[in-house]
């Protein structure tokens, strides 16, 4: 009896083993990302679609927390030689990833695997954030957003103000009058802003074609220095500070929660915020609202494109060659028009190819949702210049922190705008030198 049982067991084991050989398991491609909530669900749809579309590879997506937690997880995993194939990293980590020596540049991956990608079919202001000095794409743009101006239609009507155009930006002087009228008509706060460094300094500089840093915003060398203590930026911050006195501008914190709460709650009539906030606003706002491009200075006749925020996908080194075939197939799949349409419609992030944008246009999607086109128009209204294609700084996270801190010192009256920006520049330059020393 015992012997028979043993035989049976051996047979079962053998059969399982054989089956495993016959039906070769698909290769797993690991993707670590920072997308949660609704975005995470859309991401899962894309992954499922890819897995269903072929049999050789299975993409396994894992959420690793916030952006910085995801990058940290990637760093730790790389050190332990357990890195995923694809790692999502936020835009400010671009230089760190680029210089990490741990990545397989996307342009190279696609060429090695025989994909002839027409990179000119992509939205250039999105690509330009992630290219090297020879214009080669290093990481695949995934979720890209850009800041725009949200406004409360009801409050505008109440104050008797004409609705701003969706393509022609207001001037800052006009905005000054508008916010004054809004406050006079009873709005508690004229305008608020989320992510102040990104919108009021980084994007302000790009739109007005001002250098944020020397060496073409850091693209041309690690020995760059910040340039944000120029008269235009200082003047802009001085204006905002003066607006605080009569309620035309109100500071609501470094991130997005405070400003969104003020806008959605109907206290603030205008909010400058990323297009990725559309989802939250449309879910929570109990009033009519709409979007307009960010304001520009009256002297700026041809405003530049705004720059992106968000994250891109980096391919990590150190996996077997056969895996990379799957990674390339997946990257190719991501850029397909239907996937880009899905991603844009469900999350509000920019579609990355011109084809996807045109396809959406043809379907009349932008006619139905005109506000969705505001960000795209603002991003693509001009070809990027050296000042508007992006920012490439070492320790950028800390530099943003420094800028945020110094801006807060302007808002609470501890420093003059000139003083604060001078200090931001000298403090950031120290960080840049430290970074340069590390990577030289």
């Amino acid at each position: 009896m015992m012997k028979k049982l043993m035989m049976l067991m051996v047979l079962v084991v053998l059969a399982v083993f054989a089956a495993d050989q016959v039906f070769a398991k698909p290769i797993e491609i690991h993707w670590w990302h920072a997308m949660r909530g609704a975005r995470g669900e859309t991401l899962k749809k894309i992954v499922d679609a890819f897995n269903a579309s072929q049999k050789d590879y299975v993409v396994v997506e894992t959420n690793k927390g916030d952006y910085d937690e995801t990058v940290n997880a990637g760093v730790a995993a790389y050190r332990a030689k357990k890195q995923p194939h694809i790692l999502q990293s936020f835009e400010v980590g671009t230089l760190t990833m680029m210089l990490s020596g741990a990545i397989y540049p996307v342009y190279k991956l696609m060429a090695d695997q025989g994909y002839k990608v027409d990179w000119s079919g992509y939205l250039q202001p999105v690509l330009s954030y992630y290219v090297d000095d020879k214009n080669n794409l290093l990481s695949m743009p995934f979720n890209s957003s850009t800041p725009v101006m949200y406004y409360n239609v009801d409050l505008f009507k109440k104050a008797g103000i004409d609705m701003p155009s969706k393509t022609e930006p207001l001037t800052w002087d006009q905005l000054g009058d508008i916010t004054a009228k809004l406050v006079a008509a009873g709005a508690k706060k004229g305008m608020v802003t989320t992510w102040q460094s990104w919108i009021q300094v980084e994007n302000y500089s790009a739109i007005h074609d001002l250098p944020f840093a020397s060496k073409a915003n850091g693209y041309e060398g690690l020995d760059c220095e910040l340039k944000i203590n120029n008269p235009q930026v200082v003047n802009h911050l001085t204006r905002l500070k003066s607006w605080m006195a009569d309620g035309r501008f109100s500071y609501e914190g470094q991130k997005y929660q405070g400003a969104q709460a003020a806008f959605v709650g109907g206290d603030a009539a205008i909010m400058m915020e990323s297009i990725s906030g559309i989802g939250n606003v449309s879910k929570n706002a109990q009033f009519a609202w709409d979007l307009a491009p960010l304001p520009v200075e009256a002297s700026m006749k041809n405003p530049q494109n705004s720059i992106i925020g968000g994250a891109s996908l980096w391919v990590m080194k150190g996996h077997p060659k056969k895996d990379y075939k799957g990674v390339a197939a997946f990257m190719n799949f991501l850029a397909q028009t239907d996937m880009q349409e899905l991603w844009h419609m469900e999350t509000g992030y920019l579609p990355i190819t011109i084809k996807a944008y045109e396809a959406l246009k043809e379907k009349g999607y932008f006619k139905e949702n005109p506000y969705q086109e505001v960000g795209i128009n603002q991003m693509t209204r001009r070809n990027p210049t050296k000042n508007s294609r992006g920012l490439r700084l070492g320790y950028f996270v800390q530099i943003r922190n420094i800028i945020n801190e110094e801006m807060e010192l302007i808002w609470n009256g501890s420093k003059t705008p000139q003083q604060a920006m001078d200090d931001a520049v000298s403090r950031s330059n120290e960080k840049l030198r430290e970074f340069e020393k590390t990577y030289k």
């Binding site: 990058v71 790389y78 050190r79 020596g101 500071y251 470094q254 709460a261 430290e434």
Partner: protein, 296 residues
């Protein structure tokens, strides 16, 4: 005669303590040594290149006016947190000690907040004190006319994190003071009462001196808590802002190391913290054993 047991073989004794030693080495000494090494190096996060730079990182942090400011903030914050939570803990303990009815219930209720994680405590206080949606903030602004805005004012933000940090620690202090109060001999208090000393006098001349070892111990524990464990509160409430007004040393280590991936500087800051904590601990042992002793 005192009974003593001896291990017949030394090997067995060593084997028995081996697991503990291994755990300590792996989880305490090894990371500490790594931290020390990292603090004299400049290296990129992925570990591709690193160069030995002597004390470059230390010189950098100590010439950075913001690091020095952060030291000041940390000291002020810790002291304020410790004093607030100890005062309330002692006050509540002396009241609860005199409670006639429902002693056990009162005690249990007062110990509860200790079970709340610092991050949650931070969120609770944020809900109370946030200038846009806080109930208490509304009261402060509209009823009392105080210009309360922790998003802009560093002092307000500091008050908010001190409240959130101290609130939770009150329970901890309460437990220790409660135990300390029960150890005060009744005969002494009764004798003093018969001599005509009022409750306040009895408290200051008898109970308080007898509590001094507990007080000192709690002072040290609270300062250590405020230094190292309030990370969650700061992370949820202010993220070090506004303008760096609540950027304590521990939070700065996190920001520079984990968010900024500046490992050298972050490691150097950790080493400074390590030295600090060693000093506090040594002082505690010295003092508790020698100075703070009240003999009858």
């Amino acid at each position: 005669m005192i009974k003593r047991s001896h291990f017949t073989s030394q090997t067995l004794a060593y084997l028995l303590i081996l697991p503990q030693i291994l755990v300590t080495l792996t989880f305490f000494y090894w990371p500490a040594v790594q931290g020390l090494l990292q603090s004299v190096m400049l290296s990129d996060p992925f570990g591709q290149r690193s160069s030995f730079v002597w004390f470059y990182n230390f010189i950098n942090i100590f010439t950075d006016p913001l690091y020095l400011k952060s030291i000041g903030i940390t000291l002020g914050f810790s002291l304020a947190t410790a004093v607030t939570s100890i005062t309330f803990g002692l006050f509540l303990a002396s009241l609860a000690n005199r409670a006639l009815r429902g002693k056990a219930l009162i005690r249990t209720m007062l110990i509860w907040p200790y079970a709340v994680a610092p991050a949650i405590s931070g969120i609770l206080w944020l809900f109370l004190l946030h200038p846009s949606f806080g109930v208490l903030a509304f009261f402060l602004k509209d009823r009392l006319g105080i210009d309360w805005n922790p998003l802009l004012s560093g002092t307000d933000a500091l008050i908010m994190v001190v409240m959130a940090s101290a609130w939770k620690e009150v329970s901890y202090n309460f437990v220790f003071f409660m135990a300390g109060l029960q150890a005060v001999p009744h005969s002494l208090i009764e004798a003093a009462a018969m001599d005509g000393a009022g409750p306040f006098r009895r408290f200051w001349t008898i109970t308080f001196p007898l509590l001094s070892p507990t007080l000192f111990f709690l002072m040290v524990m609270n300062i250590i808590y405020a230094f190292f464990e309030t990370f969650g509160v700061i992370h949820t409430v202010t993220q070090g802002g506004p303008g760096g007004a609540t950027n304590t040393l521990v939070y700065k280590v996190y920001q520079d190391g984990f968010i900024g991936l500046n490992l050298g500087s972050s490691a150097a800051q950790s080493v400074v913290l390590m030295i600090l904590i060693v000093t506090i601990t040594v002082l505690q042992f010295r003092f508790v054993e020698r100075k703070v002793h009240y003999s009858l």
